[in-house]
């Protein structure tokens, strides 16, 4: 079998654009999803019973259905209700909602890992529950689950490939269209796979770097 990678060259910008789309959708969904995930977790453990039940249902619904089905529902079912979304918005919303359910569970572990004494110290200083979460618990909790969040980021990046089924021009979509045009299926899949691999590896590396700079305070502490 002969491989002709040269045939892909004219399409390199298409592939790179696809990669860029995948990347920024992932980053937006990661940031928005993590923020939403923290709120969902807080709602789940908060004092309001209806909100708590709602958050629990949300987490379980998302974690027990395929992302593919969730994206289909957002992209194909919402128009029936009169809501038409561009593929990029459908993907961002779908990945954000999906990611939030998982980060809510990650943050559950994170918040529970922070010693109870820190919360009490905040209370004893007269701080309100929201202030205690924001100024005292959030950062140590994030630090304790940072590797899990990195893992989630990479999973999310790879999951963004599902965007291709709602015709979002991300990397997998670009791979398919180059394959259809050039018939160099194996070559373009190999190149695309390597792009996914390379970016994921970079994310892993960047996260390790970020860990040492963001959490300088944690050197030598066990919280």
């Amino acid at each position: 079998m002969a491989l002709y990678f040269g045939d892909l060259l004219p399409y390199s910008s298409l592939l790179l654009e696809g990669l860029w789309t995948a990347l920024y959708i992932t980053l937006v969904a990661m940031l928005a999803g993590s923020a939403l995930g923290v709120l969902v977790y807080l709602g789940k453990v908060g004092p309001g019973k209806p909100l708590s039940i709602l958050c629990t249902c949300y987490i379980e619904a998302i974690r027990n259905t395929p992302l593919l089905v969730q994206l289909y529902l957002i992209y194909f079912a919402l128009p029936a209700l009169g809501i038409n979304l561009e593929p990029v918005w459908a993907a961002v919303i779908g990945l954000t909602l999906n990611n939030a359910a998982y980060t809510a569970e990650i943050y559950r572990a994170g918040f529970e890992s922070v010693p109870h004494g820190l919360r009490e110290a905040g209370k004893a200083l007269g701080m309100k529950p929201g202030q205690i979460v924001r100024y005292i618990i959030l950062l140590p909790a994030t630090r304790n689950v940072f590797p899990a969040l990195t893992n989630q980021l990479i999973l999310l990046f790879l999951a963004s490939s599902i965007g291709s089924i709602i015709s979002l021009p991300e990397l997998t979509n670009a791979i398919m269209s180059v394959s259809n045009t050039t018939y160099r299926t194996i070559e373009v899949l190999a190149v695309g796979g390597l792009l996914y691999l390379g970016v994921s590896a970079l994310m892993s590396l960047a996260s390790k770097r970020a860990e040492t700079t963001l959490f300088r305070w944690a050197v030598g502490t066990h919280v």
Binding site: A121, A124, L125, F215, A218, G220
Partner: protein, 240 residues
């Protein structure tokens, strides 16, 4: 200043405090001693609402803790607390640990909060550690930061929950010295402690607790030199 009447605390079926009556005056230093499990820490934690009261009443500076309309956060601003395990915020520098509550709770300006924090850290002998993270401090230094942090809210009362129990014996002294200065300045203090030397030297009054009750109280002289109650005698003979 602090009035405690028939205070009861139950954890489920476990009756931890069984009718505590106690009055602590302004500028008084009261040490609470007793065997572990006697309820002395629970008693202290009831005084700033870290534990809820099962029955009875606590009045601190005219705030009724057993009244659900009382804003517990106001009470807590007036009653600073120092914990056995310091509970410093690990992600904040020493100075930011001290400044956090003044900034976010008392809403003081940044300059004012900083000046105050610098003054307090100088007072506890840690001016040069201001920009260090707590993880790089020794236990004694951490506890002194914790004292400065509590003082930053200008409390009228300071509650100490076994402040030296987690420290190595050779650094207990540096924390006790800071507490002694505070007592000499006229701070109202309630100190749960196993440091009998400190209680004898600094306390105006010593309370001996056992099995959820105040068994005996009096001046350090009375408690340490001529304890009246058999259980006090038994406890002191073991620890002195």
């Amino acid at each position: 200043m602090i009035f405690v009447e028939n205070l009861n605390k139950k954890f489920g079926p476990n009756h931890v405090l069984k009718g505590i009556d106690c009055h602590i005056r302004e500028r008084e230093v009261v040490c609470v001693i007793g065997p572990s499990g006697s309820g002395k820490s629970t008693f202290l934690r009831c005084m700033n609402g870290l534990e809820t009261i099962s029955s009875g009443s606590i009045v601190i500076n005219k705030h009724r803790l057993d009244d659900s309309k009382t804003n517990i956060n106001l009470v807590r601003q007036e009653a600073g607390m120092v914990f056995q395990h310091f509970n410093l915020f690990p992600h904040l520098k020493v100075i930011d640990n001290v400044m956090l509550a003044p900034l976010k709770v008392a809403k003081t300006s940044k300059e004012e909060a900083r000046a105050k924090a610098e003054m307090l850290l100088t007072k506890v002998g840690l001016a040069e550690k201001m920009d260090t993270f707590p993880g790089n401090l020794s236990g004694g230094q951490m506890q002194r930061v914790a004292i400065a942090r509590a003082l930053a809210m200008d409390p009228k009362i300071m509650l100490f929950d076994e402040p030296t129990s987690a420290l190595d014996p050779e650094i207990v002294g540096e924390v006790l010295a800071v507490m002694k200065d505070l007592a000499n300045e006229g701070m109202t203090m309630v100190v749960v402690t196993h440091e009998m030397g400190f209680a004898r030297e600094v306390a105006d009054r010593v309370i001996f607790m056992d099995q959820g009750r105040i068994v005996e109280e009096g001046t350090p002289e009375e408690i340490f030199s001529s304890p009246q109650h058999g259980r006090t005698q038994g406890f002191l003979s073991k620890v002195l």
